[in-house]
């Protein structure tokens, strides 16, 4: 066991695991479940056991010195990967049961997890990029898993990822031309010597690269369809963890690389505003969605906007808020995608206009989604509140009042879609067609409820995250930060004791429950949805009492003009025009031998005539 506690061993197990699962599926499909479980749990356990100060591993590959190591910052993210990775894998065991091509699915799934471990443990830019690209193509394979309708989504995802990755690559090789060494340590040393212009270019390229993965507007175009198309267990991982790799990278760039960019620097401000706009527009788009997963996808984009705002502002409190929100988002968005995925698994539908009244059929999924949306909304007592509180406070103390308004608007508007999500699926009129629906198997609801429990725990005791975050921030170069297990402060001396908040809420809730139970105990009568004869009217069987259809019609109508201009369309027309141009250029190759011969002669003549200019010698 001791020998296995090092990074190469973990990565080797994780990557070999993905191939082993593929082989197992081919050879012994009956053992697949066991092997998948084992090969997710073992690396996750090893990552958990890995000490924060485990020794760095140095080696040389292809003429470059590479190194892997851990630090508090990477440990934080590695635990997120391990946790959500294990839970979504367990969830997938039941979700993907009896689906086709499971070997392929788990190959890509485990490779994605392994690549993410690789990213956080990389201590040099080459390994970082190497694993980054493996993550890209393995997740691409999962986006196109359902094949038929998803090609467009898949290719869009890949092209955006490629553009992002190549921005990263440009920044990396550009940096390398100054440092001659790819390790992060050397990079940190050299960066102060660069000129401001060079530094800005590098920062922008890095942020572009990481921004694509975290779906920062206007690079978010791939995200809704990609999240929608991937199988739900993977969407949980995709939105929950994979998008955090962008956040991880941004954190590194903004604080470790660009220590020179003091708070208030123009790049920071622009990034913060991009984050703010992402949060606002993402929320508005989410309100219009009639597809549960797309709604969550836009919500995910919006939430990442908050995180990026926090990172960009760059004060200790805002960064703490951002990382806290990043962890929270990992938890609650995976949980929501799992919850919605369960509904899809049982009903075969994600259409909010079609689903209705599942609360009694799928109570555990309901609880999951309920806890999820409370967390998203940032309402006490769950964890989301803590993050948003910190974020607002940090914005106010750093004088970003206008951004506060933007974020607050977005946060309020979020209620619209959150309510729509839970109402459309679980509340409302019960329909005959869903009568046979049952709750999902325990393999699926256990991971969901574990995550739901996490949101409660972090709501009451946010300190269990503050500790590791504070350490991680010290690694990023912030001073020691004071924090307490369950008390939030603000600069005006007010403090919020989460325990007392919880106690009061729980007390009110319990008292209310007791009161209602006591008062109505004798007169309680269970009714079905259509049993409303006391209202003076007997609805017929086919009468629609559900108001989930066209939920926000007036709002949509009001906002329609604004959303007419879609950035998606802009990209599409750009791509189309580029392709037309390429098509024109293609006709250079006429297919006519005489033309080609002419080219040869013309080329020769040009070389001879312009030889002075081309080769520096005159004929």
């Amino acid at each position: 066991m001791e020998q296995l506690l090092n990074i190469p061993a973990i990565l080797a197990i994780a990557f070999a695991g993905s191939i082993l699962v593929f082989v197992t599926h081919l050879v012994l499909p009956r053992l697949r479940t066991a092997v998948v479980l084992l090969l997710t749990l073992v690396p996750a356990y090893l990552v958990w056991q890995l000490p924060v100060d485990s020794p760095m591993v140095y080696f040389s590959l292809g003429g470059f010195d590479l190194s892997w190591g851990t630090n508090p910052y990477s440990r934080l993210f590695s635990l997120l990967i391990a946790g959500i990775g294990v839970l979504s894998t367990i969830y997938s065991l039941a979700f993907m049961k009896n689906k086709a091509r499971l070997g392929f699915f788990y190959l890509a799934f485990l490779a994605t997890i392994a690549a993410m471990y690789g990213i956080v443990f990389s201590q040099d830019l080459l390994s970082l990029f190497f694993f980054w690209e493996i993550m890209t193509w393995s997740s691409f394979l999962l986006v196109i898993y359902y094949r038929f309708e998803n090609q467009q989504a898949g290719i869009r995802y890949f092209v955006f990822s490629a553009v992002g990755a190549y921005a990263l690559l440009t920044a990396i090789v550009y940096l390398y031309s100054f440092t001659g060494d790819l390790s992060l340590a050397a990079t940190f040393r050299v960066i102060p010597q660069l000129s401001t212009t060079q530094l800005s270019w590098i920062t922008v390229l890095f942020l572009l690269g990481f921004g694509v993965k975290s779906a920062l507007m206007p690079m978010h175009v791939w995200a809704p369809d990609a999240y929608r198309s991937a199988p739900s267990p993977f969407t949980a991982l995709f939105s929950g963890v994979l998008s955090k790799m962008g956040v991880f990278g941004m954190g590194l760039v903004l604080f470790k690389f660009m220590g020179g960019l003091e708070p208030g620097h123009i790049i920071r401000e622009v990034l913060a505003w991009m984050g703010g706009i992402t949060a606002l527009l993402g929320t508005f788009y989410a309100v219009f969605q009639t597809d549960a997963k797309k709604l969550l996808a836009y919500s995910s984009i919006a939430q990442l906007g908050y995180i990026i705002v926090g990172l960009a502002i760059g004060t200790p409190m805002s960064v703490m808020a951002a990382i806290f929100l990043a962890l929270m988002h990992g938890i609650f968005k995976s949980m929501l995608f799992m919850g919605v995925g369960s509904v899809f698994h049982q009903t075969g539908s994600l259409d909010l206009n079609e689903l209705t009244g599942l609360i009694r059929r799928m109570p555990l999924s309901f609880v999951t989604v309920l806890m999820g949306i409370i967390t998203v909304a940032g309402v006490p007592p769950l964890g989301g509140f803590v993050g948003k509180w910190l974020l607002y406070e940090s914005l106010i103390t750093s004088n970003h009042y206008f951004l506060v308004i933007v974020l607050f608007t977005s946060s309020t508007a979020a209620f619209l879609y959150l309510y729509r999500l839970i109402f459309s699926i679980f509340l409302g009129q019960e329909e005959r067609e869903f009568d046979h629906i049952k709750e999902v198997s325990w393999v699926m609801w256990v991971p969901m409820l574990i995550l739901a429990g996490m949101t409660l725990v972090t709501g009451i005791l946010p300190g269990i995250f503050f500790g590791p975050i504070a350490e991680a921030m010290q690694y990023l170069g912030f001073p020691q930060i004071d924090w307490q297990m369950s008390v939030l402060f603000n600069p005006w001396g007010n403090q919020v004791d989460m325990l007392s908040v919880i106690t009061s809420i729980a007390t009110v809730f319990l008292l209310g429950l007791a009161f209602i139970t006591w008062k109505n105990f004798r007169t309680t009568r269970y009714v079905t949805t259509k049993d409303i004869h006391t209202s003076g009217e007997m609805p017929t069987e086919n009468e629609n009492l559900t108001y989930a259809i066209d939920f926000y019609r007036p709002f949509e109508r009001a906002a329609a003009p604004i959303f007419k201009y879609k950035v998606t369309r802009m990209y599409a027309s750009f791509a189309e025009n580029a392709e037309h141009l390429f098509d024109l250029l293609r006709h250079v190759y006429t297919g006519n031998a005489q033309t080609y011969a002419l080219y040869v002669v013309i080329f020769l003549v040009i070389l001879i005539v312009f030889s002075g200019w081309i080769f520096g010698i005159q004929i």
Partner: protein, 490 residues
């Protein structure tokens, strides 16, 4: 160490086999298929045996007892060893693939021409004599013309005609350059020419160089001289498409580089290569985007990759040339894999068009898998060898502070990703229309499997190749050392 092995075998054995094959055809068709395999296996063995020796000290073989500068020499240094080994190994894999590939016309013609192609390509790389280089160039070209028209249909004949027409320009220009060169220096030994080059007037030197650039540029697929390539690649039988991309072009690029680096002072012309390489790359990738036929698309992609190689050579630094050699190796492996799998995809669907490949990947999972793997590899994703080639190139471009070049290269990589993934998508996403189900022969899968394993192995551990390309790059740059051992002989 077996002392009987000598670089002469690389040329003599396949040449001899080529002339023997028609006779063997009279005895047994089985022999005709087996003998080329044995020859290539033998050559691979020779190459691998001589390999360490060449890296220690270049082997210089004198033909017919005339010492240089009068006789013809074969120079087997690190660069030649690297390329020749690559060619023989790829040739052997091509043979494995061809073994069961359906070939309608007489087998002995196919294998005879194939052997000539191998002999010619290795000859180009090994020879130390400029006129000899021309001869081998012609052998290769003539074999290539014939193979382009091998299927004897209208399109094949047309493609071969185009190739022949443009190829004769190449021969004429190269020959003209050699004549002018000979008139001025009075020798044909390349090392000797390089020594006496200083006496040649600058203008004449330049004329010779331009003639070489155009002549050899045609074979090396330099834009705008590469019009013949897409047709030839797509009309030749699939294994031959792979040979063109993996072997013939590589030899031609080597010839161009040997001439430019050893006979002329490259630095004056280096920017020229970078610019022309970039243009070749961009035009080719853009043209590939809207191709209807899969093999034409692969041909354009191949031209694009050669553009990258030219850029890397053009940088003229040690790491740039190392990157170019790495790219050549990686491209040879991956493009061969792609041609192999595309060959069977076309064969199974019965059509050459990309739109007719819908769903073939679901029916033929392994062939589809190999094509997809090749596509990911050539785009330059880790952990495949294509990634390292591009990475080395970008690093050397950054070190030469060509930032704009990096952007252009990466832009072309995005285009590449789009058109390759579109094909991969078609293989799997669309519904299958009725096609006859035929089995991929085991030998075909074996050949593809070998290449796939190689590209992944090199992708995970590039040092295998990287340590070999560095000395080879040194050889190309270190003109003085080359002159010394090529002139002295041993």
């Amino acid at each position: 160490m077996n002392l009987n092995f000598s670089p002469v075998h690389f040329i003599a054995v396949p040449l001899f086999a080529a002339f023997l094959l028609p006779l063997l055809g009279r005895i047994s068709q089985k022999l005709v298929t087996l003998v080329p395999g044995i020859v290539l296996l033998y050559l691979s063995a020779v190459a691998l045996t001589l390999f360490p020796q060449a890296y220690n000290e270049p082997i210089v073989e004198i033909i017919a007892g005339w010492r240089p500068p009068f006789g013809i020499t074969l120079v087997f240094g690190p660069l030649a060893a690297f390329l020749v080994t690559m060619i023989t190994l790829i040739g052997f894999v091509v043979w494995i693939y061809s073994y069961r590939f359906i070939i309608r016309a007489p087998l002995e013609k196919y294998y005879m021409l194939f052997m000539l192609l191998i002999a010619g390509s290795t000859g180009i790389i090994l020879t130390g004599d400029i006129f000899n280089l021309f001869v081998f160039l012609e052998i290769t070209a003539i074999a290539a013309y014939s193979l382009t028209a091998f299927l004897r249909d209208h399109n094949g004949a047309e493609a071969a005609f185009k190739y022949l027409l443009i190829g004769s320009f190449a021969s004429a220009f190269v020959l003209l350059a050699i004549i002018i060169l000979y008139a001025n220096v009075g020798t044909l030994n390349m090392a000797d020419i390089a020594v006496r080059m200083g006496d040649v007037p600058a203008k004449i030197k330049l004329t010779i160089m331009i003639l070489f650039i155009v002549g050899l540029g045609i074979e090396a697929e330099l834009f705008p001289l590469n019009g013949w390539a897409p047709d030839a690649y797509s009309q030749a039988p699939s294994p031959i498409g792979a040979v063109f991309a993996g072997i013939v072009v590589k030899a031609a690029v080597y010839a161009l580089m040997r001439v430019l680096f050893t006979l002329f002072d490259l630095p004056t012309s280096s920017h020229f290569l970078v610019v022309m390489g970039t243009i070749t790359l961009l035009i080719a990738e853009m043209s590939a985007m809207r191709q209807q036929q899969i093999k034409r698309m692969l041909a354009f992609s191949s031209i694009g990759q050669m553009g990258l190689v030219l850029v890397a050579f053009g940088l003229g630094t040690r790491e740039g040339i190392a990157a170019a050699l790495f790219l050549m190796f990686s491209h040879a492996i991956i493009k061969t894999l792609l041609f192999f799998s595309a060959g069977y995809l076309v064969f199974f669907s019965g059509f050459k068009n990309i739109s007719d490949l819908e769903g073939v990947g679901r029916e033929k999972p392994w062939t589809g898998f190999f094509f997809s793997l090749g596509a990911l590899a050539i785009i330059g994703l880790p952990p495949f060898s294509g990634f390292w080639g591009k990475f080395y190139l970008l690093i050397s471009a950054a070190n030469a502070s060509h930032i704009f070049l990096i952007v252009l290269i990466l832009f072309s990589a995005v285009i590449e990703a789009v058109y390759y993934l579109r094909v991969v998508g078609r293989l799997y996403f669309k519904k299958l229309h009725d096609i006859e189900i035929r089995r991929t022969p085991f030998t075909g899968l074996l050949a593809m499997g070998i290449l796939a394993i190689v590209t992944i192995t090199i992708g995970v551990y590039p040092d295998f190749i990287y340590e070999l390309v560095l000395p080879a790059a040194d050889e190309l740059l270190d003109k003085a050392a080359y002159l010394q051992y090529a002139m002295m002989g041993q």
